[in-house]
Symmetry: C2
Subunit: 143 residues, 2 copies
DNA sequence: TTACCTGCAAACAGTTTGCAGGCCG
DNA sequence: CGGCCTGCAAACTGTTTGCAGGTAA
């Protein structure tokens, strides 16, 4: 079993929960994805492999992913939650094209350092952050 | 008439729309606020001065604020839009306490510069960004 | 066996929209 | 006077929840 999936099943067992076929399937499909996934996307993909799975189960399982540390919820400001695996991928931020919606993920340790400094300057102990840069991508700039 | 309010009425007239009492009231109440305001907050405040105003009008007027450049929509990831005046206040980002929800607004030109550089490095022309830092505020750290 | 889970559908919260009447310009 | 606006309520969208039956351990 892959590492991330094992981490999930361990979490489940450790908390007296059950590692059901649905949870396994949802986790497998989710972990296959490199970037982020909306709940609906994930639901559609899961249903392609087992059409009997309910939407509520997907929602509930995604919550479980977050609790277990397997996934993280991210928001792009369009009133729809998205999730990304925090097991395979490292922390990153988002660069989003306002023309075509293309998304680039990046990480800049210099910015990260400044953020922590800034939080500290305000007396805060920083635990996490979200950063979204919006702009026009190379392809859209040519149009 | 205050500058920001004038900007709004100008925009309205310029687009062949009407500067109605409701729009005026909503704008006045909105502009009175220093930080950000949820739609519901604004609705409640407006109703204290004129209880006949409908919720839909507040929603529609907030959209109009955004179109006119008077306000900007911001998201904190709790599934509820908030708006802040872009007329009186300069651009800023948010530092949010995960303990008590306290919010500090800040602006750091060093970070801003790095963000633009980064976007450019990816071929993007940056137009805007959102940055949210989450952490524990001084008061909550002591608990 | 017995929690815990599931799918379903109803419930929810925030937001949008259709409509009949009202009012600004 | 005519087109834009309004309040109301119904519709919508993403998400959550109650329930009765099913199932992992």
């Amino acid at each position: 079993m892959k590492q991330a999936l094992k981490q999930f099943s361990d979490y489940i067992v450790a908390n007296g929960l059950k590692f059901t076929p649905q949870r396994r399937l949802i986790a497998e499909v989710f972990l296959r994805q490199v970037g982020h996934l909306s709940t609906e996307d994930l639901y559609d993909r899961v249903r392609k492999e087992d059409s009997s799975v309910g939407q509520a189960t997907v929602y509930r399982t995604l919550k479980l992913f977050c609790d277990s540390g397997l996934a993280k919820e991210v928001h792009f400001g369009d009133g729809m939650a998205r999730y990304e695996s925090s097991a395979n991928t490292n922390h990153h931020d988002h660069l989003i094209c306002i023309g075509c919606g293309k998304q680039v993920e990046f990480m800049d340790s210099e910015i990260e350092k400044l953020q922590e400094k800034l939080a500290e300057r305000n007396g805060f102990l920083m635990t996490s952050h979200h950063m979204y840069l919006y702009g026009v991508c190379p392809a859209c700039r040519k149009k």
